[in-house]
């Protein structure tokens, strides 16, 4: 019986019948497709449209098509390049801190110790604090040169106080963002470590691996994939850091903490230059895509094996 089925010539279903069947299917997916189009394509299209317009909110009537003038202006604006540089520093250093420290913490939190459950909850809790609030906490309660906890401690030790947001503004932002995102990488890497086969660890121990070698040759390769995923997700968010900068430094002093997102905000809402801001936004989109392509490649390669 099976052989008769297998030898029967395979006839493709009639084309009309197939299209008939797929019409309701298309109808059914339509709502989500339409929503996606509205959600993603419309704002993008509008940004592209505005990018080619001279459009300043102070003189809204003076609107006209200006070709690539906005782009030319933006790309020759040294502030843009500074902000791109700062964005990159921000992304790379926060990634390095969260993944590096996150991996170490994940290994530690995977060990048995009394109060592990409570410790895990505490370690993860910063992620639940919204960015504006955590920025305020750091600004007013921890890093404040007069009232801040750090200043109190260093002054108590006779070392004087550091005015974080004046002297090390970018470092301060990096610390705040890293504090917020460390729990995220910790959480994902911890679950990844827990999926590691204990037999593998034991086999490596029998092969003579020391604790460091165990980490280097067994744990780290196992975490590869999770690290790539964390890096990808975090990069997407770090490219658009805004609230922390807005609340603490306001992009300053000077341009010391102006990243791309903040630069676009400055253009659009402080200079009221919608055209220029849109052009900056498009540059940000292109930049994010370049980064995303590289990340996707590395993640996809990791998912393969």
């Amino acid at each position: 019986m099976t052989s008769s089925v297998a030898t029967r010539p395979q006839q493709p279903p009639p084309a009309r019948a197939r299209s008939h069947r797929s019409i309701p299917a298309r109808l059914l997916v339509a709502p989500s497709v339409i929503l996606l189009v509205l959600w993603m394509v419309v704002p993008l299209a509008m940004a592209i449209w505005f990018a080619f317009q001279r459009y300043n909110l102070l003189i809204p009537d003076n609107r006209e098509f200006v070709g690539f003038a906005n782009f030319a202006y933006i790309l020759t604006d040294p502030t843009l390049w500074i902000s791109i540089g700062i964005t990159m520093i921000l992304v790379v250093s926060v990634l390095a801190i969260t993944i590096g420290l996150g991996t170490v913490l994940a290994v530690l939190f995977n060990q048995e110790f009394p109060g592990r459950g409570v410790a895990r909850v505490l370690a993860i809790s910063p992620f639940f604090v919204m960015p504006t609030v955590s920025a305020l906490i750091w600004k007013n309660m921890l890093m404040h040169p007069v009232n801040g906890l750090f200043a109190q401690i260093t002054r108590g030790l006779g070392l004087g106080a550091i005015d974080w947001f004046a002297d090390f503004p970018l470092l301060a932002i990096i610390i705040i963002v890293a504090w917020q995102w460390l729990p995220f990488s910790l959480l994902i890497l911890l679950t990844a470590i827990q999926s590691l086969d204990t037999d593998q660890m034991e086999a490596a121990r029998m092969d003579g691996a020391s604790a460091m070698q165990l980490f280097r040759f067994v744990v780290l390769p196992h975490l590869n994939r999770a690290i790539a995923v964390v890096a990808m997700i975090e990069t997407i968010f770090f490219l658009t850091i805004f609230a922390e900068i807005f609340v603490t430094t306001g992009g300053g002093p000077g341009l010391a903490t102006t990243n791309l997102a903040y630069y676009i905000y400055l253009k659009a809402l402080l200079e009221f230059d919608v055209g220029g801001a849109s052009a900056g936004g498009l540059i940000a989109v292109v930049l994010a895509n370049i980064v995303a392509i590289f990340l996707m490649r590395s993640v996809a390669r990791n998912l393969d094996t």
Partner: protein, 400 residues
């Protein structure tokens, strides 16, 4: 030379004693199988030998050296895990040579060694593949290769075949047996599969509840089980047990009365049993016969299992017990038939009220030596095999 000696080994997790004092001598080039029901402690015992579990008390000696506190990699042992535990991000060659890499051996030497081992295991075409692209049997072979590369004194196998399908398991079993033959190294093998135990072992260690029930060659355990547990555990289908009453004890054998008033005489030594004592009669399904000429018991067939070559009849006999009878594949017996069952005293086992076996008057000829194919190394080993059944938890120490 590579011997493993266990002296009064205990393992306690908090309040729970898992291993309750194990004494064992494993000789050079011996294939020893730990067998027992799940939770009997056989894997724990193996992991303690490997160094993956701490030994609560007692001594573990490898080649006469105390190894209790030596880290796993320095004990000169290699282990093959049930899940293979291959490193998924490394190729077959890298997997096998990982221990050498950790030991700081140069890349060429490592590859050379991996290639040598791959040749033995027919893994050469697969050296550059990752474990994810291999079949179960190939992975198993890589895991064995990884152990081989280290050139260990003793191989440890933790249920290595239980993740394979039935036909592959038979094939790998034969390969393992051949490997032992060609390497001539000491191997310790844990399994719950008694066919693996019977076919591979020079010496089987039957464990239950953290205690060694019996140590001996496969046929010794089959023909001379020391107690009810071993008798029931070794052999498939399980040995039949029947509660009987002793009626007479002579030098030539002990006579017992069966529930149906039939009596049989079993050639066992006159030991602890007295006339009138309750005892347990044990008889293997393959030793029961359906025979009308001089039946010992009559019974009713409850279930018929036909395997083609043989037929298993589940027969309810007088006294309410159910016997499994192995009979000819062409048996015409049907459910609810009344069948005559013949029990021969010479192949029966007798156990006293505590479940201890009454030693047979004569030992089975095949159970005197070790595995027939494996030559005996010394006279001393032969002596030992004779001696073993008379000591319960004590195995004679071998002169070093």
């Amino acid at each position: 030379m590579s011997t493993v000696t266990l002296r009064d080994i205990h393992k306690t997790y908090i309040d729970n004693e898992i291993i309750k004092g194990v004494d064992l001598d494993i000789h050079d080039r011996e294939f020893v199988v730990f067998v027992g029901p799940s939770g009997c402690g056989k894997s724990t015992l193996l992991r303690m030998i490997a160094g993956l579990e701490d030994i609560t008390s007692g001594d573990l000696l490898v080649d006469g050296e105390r190894m209790n506190d030596v880290p796993p990699d320095q004990r000169g042992l290699a282990m093959v895990f049930q899940t293979y535990a291959l490193y998924p991000h490394m190729t077959v060659a890298e997997n096998m040579a990982f221990s050498l890499r950790l030991a700081g051996v140069s890349k060429e030497r490592r590859l050379e060694r991996a290639r040598d081992v791959a040749r033995i295991l027919q893994l050469e075409p697969l050296l550059d593949r990752k474990p994810g692209k291999l079949s179960g049997g190939q992975r198993q072979r890589v895991a064995i290769g990884r152990a081989l590369v280290r050139n260990p004194k003793v191989f440890l196998f933790d249920e290595p075949l239980s993740n394979l399908d039935a036909s592959l398991r038979v094939q790998m079993r034969i390969e393992l047996s051949g490997l032992h033959e060609s390497l001539q190294s000491t191997m310790i093998y844990v399994t719950h599969d008694q066919i693996e135990a019977m076919t591979l072992a020079d010496k089987i260690v039957v464990l239950q509840g953290g205690v060694v029930e019996q140590v001996g060659s496969p046929l010794e355990l089959y023909h001379h089980p020391r107690n009810l547990f071993v008798a029931g555990f070794i052999g498939s289908p399980k040995m039949n047990f029947l509660s009987v009453q002793t009626t007479g004890v002579q030098d030539s054998g002990t006579t017992v009365r069966l529930p149906g008033d039939a009596t049989i005489t079993i050639p066992v030594q006159p030991r602890t049993l007295m006339a009138g004592d309750r005892a347990t009669l044990g008889i293997r399904p393959e030793h029961l016969r359906i025979d009308a000429t001089n039946p010992t018991l009559m019974g009713e067939v409850l279930v018929v299992e036909r395997l083609g070559g043989e037929t298993y009849l589940y027969v309810k006999v007088a006294g309410g017990e159910t016997f499994i009878v192995q009979t000819d594949g062409n048996s015409r017996a049907k459910v609810r038939d009344r069948v005559p069952v013949t029990i021969e005293g010479s192949v029966c086992h007798l156990f006293d009220g505590e479940g201890q076996a009454i030693p047979k008057a004569e030992r089975h000829p095949l159970s005197l030596t070790r595995h027939p194919e494996v030559p005996l190394h010394t006279e001393a080993t032969l002596e030992q095999t004779y001696e073993q059944p008379t000591h319960l938890h004590e195995v004679p120490r071998q002169a070093e």
